[in-house]
């Protein structure tokens, strides 16, 4: 198992090296910068040329100015804090619950068989379906956001944990058993290390899903956060402000992706297999 995975990695890296031609032309980051400039330029020109009305899509310069203005406001940072708080609490609850349940279910073939049909049925239910229920139960409080976030993230992580546990090498497990490892020791020393890359993949996917649902809950239910501010700006006709807040959510998303990727790399740096996500 381990050797096979290592083989895969070396082959992949050799491939990457071989397919990279001698560097010619401009470096990648310059090209990326050009792309950003072109994009902002097009955005700036669209309302000016009259492709869209400036009251519906203000030029980029105006939106960026509004965003910079926001950065100086306490209210903006409170909204960011509220969104991130819902994101973090929801994510942590979902990950802990999915990890514990995933380990228990995954390690018992009986439970795996028993729960399979229910998981396959509950998993595809879109968590936005729960919006009315959340409103009914919690109103516009943080709990509404949490219900949606936890439901959506739980399945992402659970599925990955189950894959991870299923990937545990039988020989390693039997070896551990023959040396008299206890259940807890087996989980800690055999199952957990194998499952870790899968868990990290699950967390990475869940982290971006959690942001989507945090914003959704704020936008639709009105629980506090950036999404609520966007809805307020829109209904109040502060269009540049709305676009500025939307840019801010995009940057939050980029930041979350970057951080989870770095954490994943750090946590798995010792691991022989930095594997791709299971396509399920």
């Amino acid at each position: 198992m381990t050797t096979q995975a290592t083989g895969g990695v070396t082959r992949a890296s050799v491939k990457a090296k071989a397919s990279r031609p001698a560097s010619k032309g401009w470096p990648k980051w310059v090209l990326g910068l050009i792309g950003i400039v072109v994009f902002l330029g097009l955005w700036e020109l669209m309302p000016v040329v009259g492709l869209v009305q400036a009251k519906y899509l203000p030029p980029a310069s105006e939106v960026i100015a509004a965003l910079i203005l926001d950065l100086g406001l306490t209210a903006f940072w409170v909204a960011v804090w509220d969104t991130m708080l819902a994101w973090l609490i929801g994510l942590v609850i979902a990950v802990v619950a999915a990890l514990v349940l995933g380990l228990v279910i995954g390690m018992s073939p009986f439970l795996r068989h028993l729960t399979n049909s229910s998981i396959e049925f509950l998993r595809p239910i879109p968590s936005v379906a729960l919006i009315p229920l959340a409103v009914l139960l919690f109103g516009i409080k943080l709990e509404s956001s949490l219900l949606l976030i936890v439901y959506a993230c739980f399945w992402q992580v659970l599925i990955q944990v189950l894959y991870g546990v299923a990937d545990v090498d039988n020989v390693a497990m039997q070896t551990a058993r023959s040396y008299g490892f206890s259940y807890v020791q087996r989980v800690r020393d055999v199952v957990f290390p194998t499952m870790l890359p899968y868990l990290m993949t699950g967390i990475r996917l869940a982290a971006s899903v959690a942001l989507i649902l945090a914003i959704t809950a704020e936008l639709l239910i009105g629980s506090p956060g950036l999404g609520k501010e966007i809805a307020l700006a829109q209904s109040g006709g502060a269009i540049s402000g709305m676009y500025a807040l939307i840019l801010a959510t995009g940057f939050l998303g980029v930041g979350i992706n970057a951080v989870t990727r770095i954490v994943e790399k750090r946590v798995l740096s010792w691991h022989p297999s930095v594997r791709g996500e299971a396509t399920v």
Binding site: A129, I131, G250
Partner: protein, 257 residues
Amino acid sequence: MKTLKSVGFLLGLPIILLLWWWLATSGAPNFFVPTPAKLLTTFVETWIGERLITDVLPSIMRLVVGVLAAIVLGIVLGLAVGLNRTMRAVTEPVFEFFRALPPPVLVPVLMLLVGINDGMKIAVIISGCIWPVLLNTIEGVRSIDPVQNETSRSYGISGFARIRYQILPSATPTIMAGVRQALSIGLILMVISEMFASSSGLGFTIVQFQRSFAVPEMWSGIVVLGLIGVALSFIFQAVERRVLRWYHGLKEVENAV
């Protein structure tokens, strides 16, 4: 015996959960949770009939049109960008930003730009679903095996034939992973575009039930959404199994070594 056992595993837990639900709700009436029987009759009364045609089917149509358009656009654009190193580098930061942007924020934007109509709802679905397909297509095209490329070249397979017979099939596993993400994003966007600004559709109807405290009706709406989600997932799995039969077989062989 064996089939009996697998049927037991298939239905065992759902039956236990149903029984538990029934026991928990049939004693004292609960405002928030209807009994299974009540939910079932409400479901039939509410959704089987006129609402199916006025609210459910139009929602599903918009979802299907939006998702299909996003898939086609995403693959075509992804091929165009992915096959060119410079284009890849130029577009990467902008595309990564759009992928990271939570799709629901597109609803108020498109309400402004398109107005409140069917076109807006479809535009929301397209503009949210296209990114995973587009970025996965780019990734799938980028990571094509160099030996496969040399094989195509040495046998004179180029241009459209190369895309048709080599590049697209080889990128399909990655593309399908993107399509799966697009499907769940599409469903979310279908619901919230209707909840946000609409006078019909599934999302709108469910919110109306909630606002008028018609709790069993609201639950039945949640069930409808759940059923659509499950149906989409099954359809996707069936299509994926067909399209990627070679890929799953190949992986099985590789993993067995």
